[in-house]
Symmetry: C2
């Protein structure tokens, strides 16, 4: 178990679990983003600071993300579309989970790749048909994993990752979103 | 109505709506992402191609997104966390909607800024307490808008954007996500 290395410090995560069991208030995080409209449907969103473990925290650097619509929607394509950002979050969350669970189970990973496909009937958001929802109809994630493990063990890794994934939950299940004007 | 300019080609969107009313198959889009594990919980996800209007489409360039966990989780902080990508998508989608609706209503925007806060009890994903969900508890979006319009008109812009937002729907309501191993 100790000779494999996926680069995940599982002991630190197990220690954190133990600490947070007795200190639920430290487990309350607030993630933040700040967005600015540029022109048209182009905007830039920056992320750096967040709150967690009872105090203000900060990523090492500020990261900026452009979003726009593609040229086929008569826009400038200065960035990916907003809804594609959900696929980035989903793929990366499930991948992080696979690496963490593999480390915890003593499975050496060699490569983990995934493709995500989100089906989207755009008649909803365009207001063509009020029976069509605005967001995705459904999403399919397919993993290709090379690891020192059987097919069953690899499938169990992915299943456990899904069970603990923050983004899988956030997309599969409803979350209350309050939108206000300052 | 014609003298204001938010950089949104509303006529093209209205034309698209009319065309798609008679051609629902052209409105079926598939957005795609490809993700590769690096090491630890760090991964890189790329986006370029998608399907829509009945054929393969492509963004002007491929964009790559790093995701990682922060140093307080014993990781390297080589990118924002997966769940923060959902906030990027939400802010940019609502902002694009505000610009589009303003253009359609003849309202000149001067600036649109928003902050998004996602509250997250990390005991869920760490497996500390199975009664705590893995994803966000709730999300709050606050807009600050400078426009040639009354406060009521600005609030109506934001409400209409929310009503048509793909990402607002995807986060507020459940979506079926199927995860498989190739």
């Amino acid at each position: 178990m100790t000779t494999i290395d996926n680069g995940v410090n599982v002991q630190a995560l197990l220690d954190a679990r133990e600490v947070l069991e007795g200190a639920p208030e430290a487990a309350q995080f607030t993630w933040r983003a700040s967005s600015k409209w540029t022109t048209g449907v182009h905007s830039t969103t920056t992320i750096q600071n967040y709150f967690g473990l009872g105090e203000e925290q900060s990523h090492k650097t500020e990261t900026a993300f452009d979003a726009d619509h593609p040229e086929i929607f008569a826009a400038e394509d200065n960035g990916i579309t907003p809804i594609e950002y959900l696929l980035v979050g989903l793929a990366s969350c499930l991948t992080a989970g696979v690496a963490s669970v593999a480390q915890n189970r003593g499975i050496q990973l060699r490569s983990v790749e995934s493709t995500v496909e989100g089906n989207h009937d755009i008649r909803g958001m365009l207001g063509v048909d009020s029976d069509v929802r605005n967001g995705f109809n459904d999403i399919k994630v397919t993993f290709t994993i090379d690891a020192d493990a059987s097919k069953d063990e690899i499938e169990a890794l992915v299943a456990q990752s899904q069970k603990r994934s923050a983004v899988f939950d956030a997309i599969s299940n409803p979350t209350e979103v309050a939108v206000a004007v300052a």
